[in-house]
């Protein structure tokens, strides 16, 4: 009997290790393997016995599961609608293989892509990536092939591949799952990138808050070093700064400097790590590459709509019944993701708002659930796809609070370099507090006769809302990077769609 239980960090947090121990005691002859997670997080810890699933399981369920009569049975895992309707290209191995097993990896098509890349050569490799339409999955959505081409053509005696594994957005976990579940896939993707652009060294900038991923990546790098040589890989751990997910401050942090954002130009593709041409790509972008090389660019590009080609590993989270990893071609609607696949709220209450793309993403009301998952469509609608995280809120959510949280988040995580973000985020919080209070009177300082030019009359709620809107405009157009630049998204979308939470008349 083969009993598979995930060793993914979320599963462990739900008790997977204790569960595995319990099975080991109860079924000493069974082969207990620790696999990657299937990504059905509401079912973790999930027990996979010959393809049949049981979850969320506790040590108390062990006996029943072994007998075959557990009420935690969900049937054949692959047939479950959550899994069956996905299009797993990047997460093909999720739930099926042991993450650190080179055999498992090779047997499931591993290293085929890298061999292909060596065969066809750097230029053709870049061509395939370009043709596939693969865009940066970190959030910027920049065509990966074009970035690789720029680095390949840049003059330099040393080039680098940097993997952005800082996954700081709340409600996201795909990078973590991929690194913990299929580390060789990322390694292969980076090696292919290195071969394509002429980079001999790669760094994975991994956030310190992912200790399991750090350990697994380091082990996997050692184990596969001979297979990707002469390409050399190294894990570098972050230090608790969301802003270091921004590529230039990531590079500064990698260089041992303050995690401060750099102005562009120059682009990292030309002057990046230590001033050398550097590819900076997200985990998912690099992990998608082996599939492109082995199955072909056209196959990848055939998925998706418009200019959003391929699949997006969507992360369903928040107040949602069925949260987890859902990889699907671009084009699926927001509503289908949240209601049909996610099953609506965990609390059972109506959905009030859905935030897409992390803490700096816009909030969408149910009236916008028709939006297809597509970079351009979301931008037009005043939002963003970002890293594909979706957080669901029910009707107990206070959108003014959420707006305040956005400013608070920005203030805490701000690198402090540019004025709109450094000071603006703090003032944004203060202004929202005044909105909650309905406005303000003159401050003690403003009321002094010496402050001749200061306005000493009251500021109404409407005045404060205008101020908030102006501040958001300053931050949107004035900030140096997307931290300050996108904070207006959650704030303004909250204000626009839920004015009543701000004490204003509801939109007609």
């Amino acid at each position: 009997m083969r009993i598979a239980i995930s060793d993914d960090a979320l599963a462990i947090a739900c008790g997977a290790d204790k569960l595995a121990e319990a099975f080991a005691r109860a079924a000493p002859d069974a082969e207990i393997v620790r696999t990657s997670s299937w990504g059905m997080q509401w079912l973790e810890p999930l027990v996979d016995i010959n393809g049949m699933g049981f979850g969320p399981a506790t040590p108390g369920d062990v006996a029943a599961i072994l007998d075959g009569g557990s009420d935690k049975a969900i049937g054949k895992i692959e047939d479950h609608p959550f899994i069956a309707k996905q299009q797993r290209l990047t997460f093909a191995r999720a739930g099926k293989t042991q993450p650190l097993s080179l055999e498992d990896y090779t047997e499931t098509g591993g290293w085929v892509a890298l061999k292909k890349a060596y065969e066809i050569g750097p230029e053709a490799t870049i061509g395939m990536v370009t043709e596939s339409g693969l865009r940066g999955r970190g959030g910027a959505g920049f065509p990966a092939g074009i970035k690789w081409k720029t680095v390949a053509g840049a003059p330099g005696d040393q080039k680098y591949i940097v993997c952005n594994a800082d996954e700081g957005d709340s409600g996201t976990f795909a990078d973590r799952m991929l690194m913990e579940g299929d580390p060789y896939c990322l390694i292969e993707g980076m090696a292919i990138a290195g071969h394509a652009v002429g980079a001999t060294k790669g760094y994975i900038y991994l956030r310190s808050e992912y200790p399991h991923a750090i350990r697994k990546m380091e082990t996997a790098i050692k184990a596969s070093a001979h297979l990707v040589s002469p390409f050399k890989l190294e894990v570098r751990v972050g230090a608790g700064a969301y802003v270091c997910g921004e590529e230039t401050s990531l590079l500064n942090s990698l260089e041992g400097k303050r995690g401060e954002v750099r102005a562009k130009p120059p682009l990292p593709a030309l002057e990046g790590l230590f001033g050398k041409p550097t590819v900076v790509n997200n985990v998912l972008t690099l992990a998608a590459v082996p599939n492109v090389l082995s199955e072909g660019a056209k196959a990848y590009a055939d998925y998706g709509i418009g200019r959003s080609r391929g699949t997006m590993p969507v992360q369903l989270a928040g107040n949602i019944k069925q949260g987890g990893l859902y990889e699907i071609a671009f084009g699926i609607t927001l509503g289908e993701l949240v209601e049909e696949i996610g099953g609506g709220t965990e609390s059972g209450r109506p959905i009030k708002a859905v935030q897409v793309g992390g803490p700096l993403g816009a909030y969408f009301p149910p009236s916008m659930f028709h939006l297809p998952f597509d970079y351009e469509a979301f931008t037009e609608a005043g939002g963003l796809i970002g890293h594909g995280g979706i957080v669901v809120f029910d009707d107990t959510a206070d959108m003014l609070n959420q707006a305040h949280f956005a400013m608070e988040f920005c203030a805490v995580e701000s690198c402090g370099k540019c004025t709109p973000c450094r000071i603006g985020a703090v003032r944004g919080q203060e202004t929202l507090e005044r909105i909650r209070a309905g406005g303000r009177g003159a401050g003690a300082c403003e009321a002094l006769p010496q402050m001749h030019n200061a306005k000493s009359s009251e500021r109404s709620l409407e005045d404060e809302v205008v101020l908030l809107t102006d501040l958001c405009e300053t931050m949107k157009f004035g900030s140096l990077c997307a931290l300050g630049g996108f904070t207006p998204y959650p704030v303004m979308s909250a204000l626009t769609h839920w004015p009543e939470d701000f004490g204003l008349e509801p939109a007609s």
Binding site: A241, V243, R258, G259, E260, A263, K264, P265, A411, V412, E413, S414, C415, G416, K417, C418, T419, P420, R422, I423, G424, A425, V426, R427, E430, T431, R440, A442, G443, A444, C445, E446, M451, N453, A454, K455, R459, D463, L467, D470, L471, E473, T474, F477, G478, S479, L480
Partner: protein, 948 residues
């Protein structure tokens, strides 16, 4: 002309030769590729509001005020970080931009003190300027929000304050410290709203940090956050005058910013060709000595040195001096008197002193402080190249691929130039350091020497010969260059000599203590690393083979073709602000101006015709020989201008004996210095702020010194010399120093094109400047050497006679520190003493341990010449067997210990090699105590009875 701040273009200039055409606000402009949009706008006098950009550091993009709109470009990019592109159409003022800028400014002012009117930066504050420019009228956030206004001021630095409550977190100070100065002392602590400028760790203040007080951050700061204390006390300047620093041989030019006749602050001049807008703690801040209470303002005389001084009128002083000189010459002969010119006074003043001696005293007994520092440079480079000066300008370092620094410590002694070296090193140039000590340059933030050769003191020639050995035997010479530019036969003699096995690095390692393999690698790097430049200092010249070492350096440069273009060359780092000039003006006893020997008939005739006197054709006495002759009873009178031979010359006891044997010592200086203890006549001098004239720096660059205040002592130094000459019967009538320079130009071919008018036009001139090169000569020997063919001179290693032994088993070498300047006459009388209150002895841990000594202990430093007492610092910067100290404080009497040994060709003292012993001590030595007492007695000034 009123006070105008220096124009700030926002971002650095581009060096590209390619031109880009773009339109800004409808107007076309052409600028070099690589220029930022901000700078292009500034070039056409369109000011784009900015706070975090300033043109001596790279753009940063943090304030977000300088946003512009560009056709076909999304969003509102920052103009400071956007390079120009052909056909670009930029709009700097649109309703959207105006709103955004107001929005940004509103945020700034919501966290800033509001009492501008009483702030020391009122009218000198960029935040104020930009708030006005964007038209801010209402700060809707109010003033009750989170702020930084309660932070306390750091006043630890004696010259400037750091008030973080006014800081706008633009990082200009941090970037200036990084990019301009290269010290990396500042950082931003924390993140987000809590971001704060910090001078090191959270417990540091500016004084305890690595800050070297160069003032770059103060200059860069747009608000009053970093501000000179003098501005707070006095107020803003109302005019500025450009002048040249009187400290070291870099020759930084400053704007002396005045309020009336009061100097408010010295700000580096951005267009200064030597310093390019940078400065060090001395020139920037340590000018207060001009007003120090110890400054002597009245002439004084006394019959004998054990009597107190008596103040007299100028007239009495001059006539007494003249009559004494005449009396002595009558009694002891024409050659019994002489003078020493100053390397700190102007060219014009120096020219007059040597003229007084030659035309008035009728002999050639004139010498200058270069005797004790770079006279071997004069000899060595004249012999090999034909010119007694360095071959390049400072800008040349920007193109160097390899720098070989030997016997110099530029981060301490030529700090502004060192910053330029460091900048180039950070860009990837390589560094070789040859020094017994691990000087800072060997390893400091973002700079690391590829090779440090810690040789045994006194073995320079051996090391250079073994470098030559490697270069010749490994076939790394530039044969084409040698054949074309040098004498091939002389080269072959030299090549044969260095190739001998006895000169290999392996063979010489026992003497030099430099590991052979390391030396070989260094030689290869110098010969093949690209454009290689040699920079050297007194660690080369102040040795018994100083001249030979200079020639060995010249040999290396010629052998590898590293002469005659930017990026290469042989660069002596001249110490004093005008030592180059003093030598140029004919201060040496064997040479008239322009380094022409006194025996040369044609040259003498030129002068004789102009001056109307016959000149002595024989070389005169050098300073050490003057002192010898004095002890012999043959030299009896000395006129010393701006030089303290008792503190700075070696073998103090011998100098004292020489001075004591004289009958008339005339000291012309600002303060009663050590030499004045033995003087009979004291003529008060004037500072560089109180005179017009010129200084010539280490680049041969002649720069104007402009008077900003009337001399407190009543006369400029050149006027004093003129009056003394007139008292001796010479009919001198110079009305202005420009006339003196005109005379120099008339009589000296290399100066033919120099005049105050031309200097005013061009800003500065590097000699030679004549019909062939009317605008001066930045790089020398471009097509041929001045002497024709470059001369290879065989330099055999002759070990110094100064040997260690059981009694004196250690070797002492000396040097300088950043904050103090030479004998400290000026810097000790400023706040700079806070950084260096006493000279400290550095010793290796193994030597200290053997003697039971630890850091902070008083130690006795003794040689066969004498002994003194200093406090100890145990450090591994020096190798075992070597000790080091500075000589800035007279109380230390470091030169009591140094010997009479000197360079064979020039008598430049061998300061850098003295055999010594160190032992524990209880306190000052007997000599020091006697000297203290003697000094006090010798400095008494009689208080005149008040005239009722």
């Amino acid at each position: 002309m009123g006070y105008e701040p220096q124009k700030d273009f926002g971002t650095p200039a581009s060096r590209s030769e390619k031109t880009i055409t773009l339109t800004i606000d409808g107007e076309k402009i052409n600028v070099p590729e690589g220029t930022s949009v901000m700078r292009a706008a500034a070039e056409m006098d369109t000011h784009i509001p900015k706070l975090c950009a300033t043109d001596n550091i790279k753009s940063f993009g943090s304030c977000r005020l300088c946003l512009v709109e560009i056709d076909d470009v999304r969003g509102t990019p920052a103009s400071c970080t956007t390079p120009v592109a052909n056909g670009m159409a930029v709009h700097t003022q649109t309703p959207k931009l105006q709103k955004l800028r107001k929005g940004v400014m509103e945020l700034y002012i919501s966290d800033h003190p509001l009492d501008c009117l009483t702030c020391s930066a009122n009218n000198d504050c960029e935040l104020q300027d930009e708030a006005a420019a964007v038209g801010l009228r209402d700060v809707r956030y109010g003033y009750e929000g989170e702020n930084h206004l309660g932070l306390e001021t750091d006043s630890s630095n004696p010259y400037f304050d750091f008030d973080p409550s006014k800081c706008i977190a633009c990082s200009r100070c941090v970037r200036a410290c990084d990019e301009v100065q290269g010290t990396y002392a500042l950082t931003i602590e924390g993140r987000g709203f809590g971001s704060m400028v910090s001078a090191g760790t959270p417990i540091d203040d500016f004084m305890s940090s690595e800050c070297v007080s160069c003032g770059a951050c103060v200059q860069a700061c747009p608000t009053a956050t970093l501000q000179e204390k003098s501005v707070k006390e006095i107020g803003l300047p109302d005019k500025s005058v450009i002048t040249t620093c009187a400290y070291c041989g870099v020759g930084c030019t400053f704007r002396a910013e005045m309020r009336g006749e009061q100097l408010v602050r010295m700000v580096p001049w951005k267009d200064g060709k030597a310093n390019r807008g940078h400065s060090c703690v001395k020139g920037r801040f340590a000018w207060g000595y001009a007003n120090h209470k110890e400054r002597i303002l009245n002439p004084m005389i006394r019959e004998s040195i054990d009597q107190p001084w008596r103040e007299v009128s100028w007239e009495e002083a001059f006539s007494h001096a003249a009559s004494e000189i005449q009396r002595i010459q009558e009694k002891y002969g024409t050659r019994s008197v002489g003078g020493i010119t100053s390397s700190r006074c102007t060219n014009e003043e120096t020219f007059l002193v040597q003229k007084l001696i030659r035309a008035g005293f009728h002999n050639n007994n004139v010498d200058t402080c270069a005797r004790v520092c770079h006279s071997p440079t004069g000899y060595g480079l004249k012999t090999t190249f034909g010119t007694s000066a360095g071959t390049q300008d400072f800008d040349s370092v920007e193109q160097s691929d390899v720098m070989l620094v030997i016997g110099a410590n530029p981060t301490d002694a030529h700090p502004v130039f060192a910053s330029r070296m460091k900048k180039r090193l950070r860009e990837g140039a390589k560094l070789i350091v040859i020094d017994p000590r691990r000087i800072d340059l060997v390893r400091m933030p973002h700079v690391e020497a590829a090779h440090h050769l810690p040789l045994q003191p006194g073995t320079n020639v051996a090391v250079l010969t073994s470098l030559a050995h490697v270069i010749v035997t490994e076939g790394l010479v530039d044969e084409a260059f040698i054949r074309e530019r040098c004498d091939w036969d002389e080269y072959q003699d030299w090549a044969r000599f260095v190739s001998d096995e006895s000169h290999s690095p392996e063979h010489l390692e026992a003497i030099t203590k430099v590991p052979a393999e390391e030396l070989r690698r260094a030689a290869r790097l110098y010969a093949t690393g690209g454009k290689s430049a040699i920079y050297y200092g007194l660690g080369v010249t102040e040795h018994s083979q100083g001249s030979s070492t200079v020639m060995a350096i010249a040999n290396l440069a010629m052998a590898t073709g590293n002469i005659g273009r930017p990026g290469v060359g042989v660069n002596p780092l001249r110490g004093q602000n005008n030592v180059q000039g003093a030598c140029d003006m004919g201060s040496f006893p064997h040479e008239l101006s322009g380094y022409r020997h006194v025996s040369d008939r044609a040259t003498r005739k030129l002068f004789e015709d102009d001056w109307g006197v016959t000149l002595d054709p024989e070389p005169g006495l050098r300073i050490p020989n003057m002192l010898d002759a004095a002890v012999d009873g043959e030299f009896k009178a000395l006129y010393v201008q701006g030089e303290d031979i008792l503190q700075s010359d070696p073998n103090t006891k011998h100098v004292a004996a020489g001075l004591e044997a004289m009958e008339c010592v005339i000291v012309h200086d600002l303060f009663l210095n050590e030499t004045a203890n033995y003087a009979h006549i004291f003529l008060p001098g004037s500072t560089f702020l109180e005179k017009d004239g010129t200084f010539t720096n280490a680049e041969r660059r002649i720069q104007l010194v402009r008077k900003v205040m009337e001399p407190m002592n009543g006369l400029q130094d050149w006027e004093v010399t003129q009056e003394l000459a007139r008292a001796m019967g010479l009919d001198w009538n110079y009305a202005h120093p420009s006339q003196i320079m005109d005379e120099v130009a008339r009589l000296t071919p290399t100066f033919a094109g120099v005049s105050f008018d031309r200097l005013g036009e061009l800003g500065s001139i590097q000699w030679p400047a004549n019909d062939a090169t009317p605008d001066g000569t930045p790089v020398m020997h471009e097509t041929g050497f001045v002497r024709g063919k470059g001369k290879f001179v065989v330099t055999d290693y002759v070990p110094t006679d100064e040997k260690t032994g059981p009694r004196f088993p250690l070797l002492l070498t000396t040097g300088r520190i950043l904050s103090q300047y030479n004998v400290g006459a000026q810097t000790r009388r400023t706040e700079n003493s806070r950084w260096h209150e006493e000279d400290i002895l550095e010793m290796h841990p193994s030597d200290a341990e053997n003697r039971g000594l630890k850091t902070g202990d008083w130690t006795n430093l003794a040689s066969r010449s004498g002994e003194t007492t200093l406090r100890l610092l145990v450090t591994d910067r020096v190798a075992p067997g070597v000790v080091y100290t500075t000589f800035h404080h007279p109380a230390t009497q470091a030169n009591v210990v140094t010997t009479e040994f000197s360079d064979w060709a020039t008598n430049c003292p061998e300061y850098k090699v003295t055999a010594v012993q160190i032992s524990p001590s209880n306190g000052p030595s007997d000599w020091q105590e006697d000297y203290e007492a003697h000094s006090e007695r010798a400095r008494r000034i009689e208080i005149p009875e008040s005239a009722e």
